[in-house]
Symmetry: C2
Subunit: 245 residues, 2 copies
Amino acid sequence: MDMRFDMAQNAAPPARTRPCQSCDSCEVRDRAICADLSDADREALGRIGRRVAVPAGQTVMWEGDDSTVVANVIEGTLKLSTSTGDGREQIVGVVYESDFIGRPFGARTPHSVTALTDARLCLFPRGAFDGFAMGHGELQHRLLQRTLDDLDRTRGWMLLLGRKSAREKVATFLLDMGRRLPVDRDGVIDLPLSRQQVADILGITIETVSRQLTEMKRAGTIDLIGRRGVRLVDRQALEALAEAG
Amino acid sequence: MDMRFDMAQNAAPPARTRPCQSCDSCEVRDRAICADLSDADREALGRIGRRVAVPAGQTVMWEGDDSTVVANVIEGTLKLSTSTGDGREQIVGVVYESDFIGRPFGARTPHSVTALTDARLCLFPRGAFDGFAMGHGELQHRLLQRTLDDLDRTRGWMLLLGRKSAREKVATFLLDMGRRLPVDRDGVIDLPLSRQQVADILGITIETVSRQLTEMKRAGTIDLIGRRGVRLVDRQALEALAEAG
DNA sequence: CGCTTGATTGATGCCATTCAACATGGGTGG
DNA sequence: CCACCCATGTTGAATGGCATCAATCAAGCG
């Protein structure tokens, strides 16, 4: 089944989507871009959108396609990525619940968006969203704030890609994940990413990621639990590695 | 002389700055973020700002500093950069006339801004600018558009930093400059960047930049005229190199 | 003219990639 | 529930691209 059709503005709503009638009880209503809207306005926006469940691995927007939809992430983790003609991939962002995805006020989607875990989105047709936003300054203000933050974070990541060694990259990545992801009671973080995806974030190969991780484990800086679990044993050592590893 | 003091909101205006009274005749009024404002509003914004001349090499904002000013670039080219603790630098953006610089709605300047050529800015104290923007949706909308475009371009650049070879990086860079900078009647582009700065944009060393350029010259793909001049002789060849060099 | 700064060229070494073999573990069906 | 299987991850050895170190060259400039 082609997800793009699924997402099209005028496609018949498939079984697993439904109009978003319940902004009141929305899990991310206080953190998503709709947070500053009045109850009436939020409800009006809600009537434009609908909820969609996206299974892990599913791509919801393709690089270069027409920008037909935008969305709030209600639950789950997704990656933003671009590729060269010959298939080399670079992940340019990872988004979490309450983040906003898609390209409002623009004709083209500049990068692909793919679910890393099962996810739920609150999806809006772009045209309708743009129209609504034009009439609601609070919404645009929040979107601006968020975009400025994204830009700052993205530019920070350029320093890592351009100037850091593999060791530094992996250490920086682990610290970043430690900040953004929940930690269970044993101090273990469950990464939403495979080794390949970590490599695609850091601009290195899967083998190099693996080697750096096992080296850090050998040094007692981290613990590796199964394929996706990491415990940051010595955060201070990681911070040292992240700056001049 | 410390430029930071110079830029402070309540510092006595130094000799080379003056209130910006002439938005009517402003060179970038149709392209800068003020373009959509009414004449009255633009004039009100103009009273907040003042013009500043910045000599090449001067840094106007420092990474990590309080965000005290924002500005429109009236003329010239500037770089945005971040550095690691041990001095490795990465240029995260290059801005041209009519672009906007600084971090509105945020406490910290996330990267340094340095003039590559002599430049003129239309400078606003951040607090006053933020206040004005909050009351003017058109301004925020334009800022949002611009920030979304910047984010798209920045993310595109991550692919280059993370996944491209030195050859591909240099070729991509040359094509990008060819698009953004004026070309004289001999087809020569005058780069506003030294080799070191090119290296800092591409995340490679100065020697590698030099070797790639001379190699391309030897192959007849480009011509090098003095230190800053380049002629793109065979654009098609460059495009091939940029994708799979 | 020297002097300084920036750019090119050369020699060498190292880190990350590449290619390849092997291990692991998560999932499935008998 | 265990044996098997395949995707995913780890480890090893060899190569190569880029960095590093160093010398030379070319421009500006006082």
